[in-house]
């Protein structure tokens, strides 16, 4: 390995694999793990190497934890099915950042077997209370909620009241990102319009950042009734177009493949006006 090349400079797949494999320099491993995920590498050695990097002890060093977080994120990007059990295991690690990365990647895998362990973590006592210097909550609630919602959307979960109720208390969370993640997950789980209302209200929030987040959330949910409100929201047309594209391509309530029906024609007309 050429030590003169610094992280951030262009590398190729072979070199990335070498950097991930070596044990001397953890920052190089971290970068290589990120790079392979980012490049959607299909090399057969990638996933086994990432899984090895993810497998760390609760007492692991800061440096090893940083590599594991990077590996966890890339396994999600690569949709590595074999990472399901190791990522669920990583939800138990004492490091908050690793649990957060594992939760997000479980969301990307979309396997319903992850719902129970994600819920268990979310419903731990103190999960939604600030800890330490107040930077984090006890658990990475936003990531856990998003993952649960995303899995439900992928597997088209049936409406389940028992399953929704425990999530409702997160709607009252003092952190707007957690409250938004809760309404988004509830909408994805149930398809019930009442859960879209908090997000629709945020489209008129005085802060641009909140309006942007709300329109991306509604887009990610595929909540088609929000299309008109999205198209009039005071935000960049580029973001509104991305959200509307999601509504066209991934409607929450859909009947199979997308065709050019009356509602699709309306959605396309809204997009045309934003060009």
């Amino acid at each position: 390995m050429d030590k003169k090349i610094l992280p951030g400079e262009p590398i190729n797949e072979v070199e990335a694999l070498q950097r991930l494999q070596q044990q001397e320099d953890p920052s190089q491993r971290c970068y290589a793990a990120w790079w392979l995920g980012r490049m959607r590498s299909q090399h057969p050695e990638v996933i086994p190497l990432l899984l090895k990097a993810l497998e760390i002890k609760p007492t692991a060093t800061e440096a090893a934890i940083a590599v594991a977080r990077s590996a966890a994120r890339s396994l999600g990007k690569l949709h590595a099915k074999t990472a399901l059990a190791p990522l669920i295991q990583a939800l138990l690690h004492p490091d908050h950042g690793l649990r957060e990365a594992a939760a997000r990647s479980l969301g990307e895998l979309g396997d319903s077997k992850a719902i129970k362990p994600l819920m268990e973590r979310l419903l731990l006592p103190g999960a939604d209370e600030p800890v330490g210097n107040g930077l984090h909550l006890g658990e990475p609630c936003e990531a856990l909620l998003e993952a649960i919602g995303q899995i439900c959307i992928t597997i088209k979960f049936e409406t389940n009241q028992d399953f929704q109720q425990p999530l409702e208390r997160f709607l009252q969370n003092k952190r707007p990102v957690v409250a938004s993640a809760a309404s988004r997950a509830l909408l994805q789980i149930s398809g019930n319009p009442k859960w879209a209302e908090p997000m629709l209200a945020l489209l008129e929030h005085p802060q641009l950042q909140m309006r942007r987040a709300a329109l991306m959330d509604l887009g990610a949910c595929g909540w088609r009734p929000a299309a008109e409100a999205i198209s009039c929201c005071l935000a960049e047309n580029s973001l509104k177009l991305i959200a509307l594209r999601n509504l066209v391509e991934q409607p929450l309530i859909s009947s199979g493949s997308i065709s050019l029906g009356a509602r699709e024609q309306q959605l396309l007309a809204l997009m045309d006006k934003l060009l």
Binding site: E236, S238, I242, R245, V248, I258, E264, M271
Partner: protein, 217 residues
């Protein structure tokens, strides 16, 4: 006209970003009501053009709306003030010209679709190339203009960003409406390609192309 003076003064003395947005909106709202090509309107248009360089997106959006409302009266002032060294201002000017559809803006749109680094600017240019007003051109000018438009739309169809390809499809749909047979055939082929999964990876672009093709026949 005292109202205009007040509005220009409000723009010049705006102390905060928000008050500049408000002042720009007020000025933009009256600009198209001023007598066309009067010196008052030209003063207002030039002020709106200056606001494109103010590094205030809210004000720029309002200024672009005001310029579009003035239609062809805004075209020459925009072209006279194109700022080569201010990327943001140039991007807003492309948006205004794309919406107005005056043939004098063609060269700016052509250059934007060919080499602008901002996807949202290429998006606006692609849409604009489909709606250049051809009615007042001589037959030779019309032919030349249409060739440039079609070449630009073809580039837009091959762009790396889905939204530029989407805009090019919308552009082609509009362009084909007032095209003679050979241009219409070229549009048809480009739209057919965009509707195919093997060529176009983004579902919403394929859907929009299918919609355009349905309107074609």
């Amino acid at each position: 006209m005292n109202l205009l003076k007040d509005l220009l003064l409000a723009v010049q003395t705006a102390a905060t970003a928000d008050s500049l947005v408000d002042a720009t909106r007020d000025l933009a709202a009256i600009c198209s009501d001023l007598p066309a090509n009067s010196s008052d309107q030209l003063t207002a248009i030039n002020c709106l053009i200056e606001l494109l360089s103010a590094n205030n997106p809210g004000a720029a959006v309002a200024a672009v709306d005001g310029l579009i409302a003035c239609k062809t009266a805004a075209v020459q002032p925009i072209l006279n003030n194109l700022d080569e060294h201010n990327y943001g201002a140039r991007a807003w000017a492309v948006r205004a010209l794309a919406q107005i559809g005056d043939p004098r803006g063609l060269a700016v749109l052509q250059r934007a679709i060919e080499q602008d680094i901002g996807p949202s600017v290429r998006r606006a240019a692609a849409m604009g190339l489909g709606r250049i007003e051809l009615a007042e051109l001589s037959p030779e000018e019309k032919l030349e203009t249409m060739e440039i438009c079609l070449a630009g739309l073809k580039l837009g169809c091959a762009d790396g960003e889905w939204i530029v390809r989407y805009a090019a499809v919308v552009g082609l749909e509009n362009f084909s409406r007032n095209s003679s047979n050979s241009f219409a055939q070229a549009c048809l082929r480009l739209l057919q390609a965009r509707s195919q999964e093997a060529i176009e990876e983004t579902p919403v672009v394929r859907l929009r192309a299918a919609q355009a093709l349905a309107a074609f026949s």
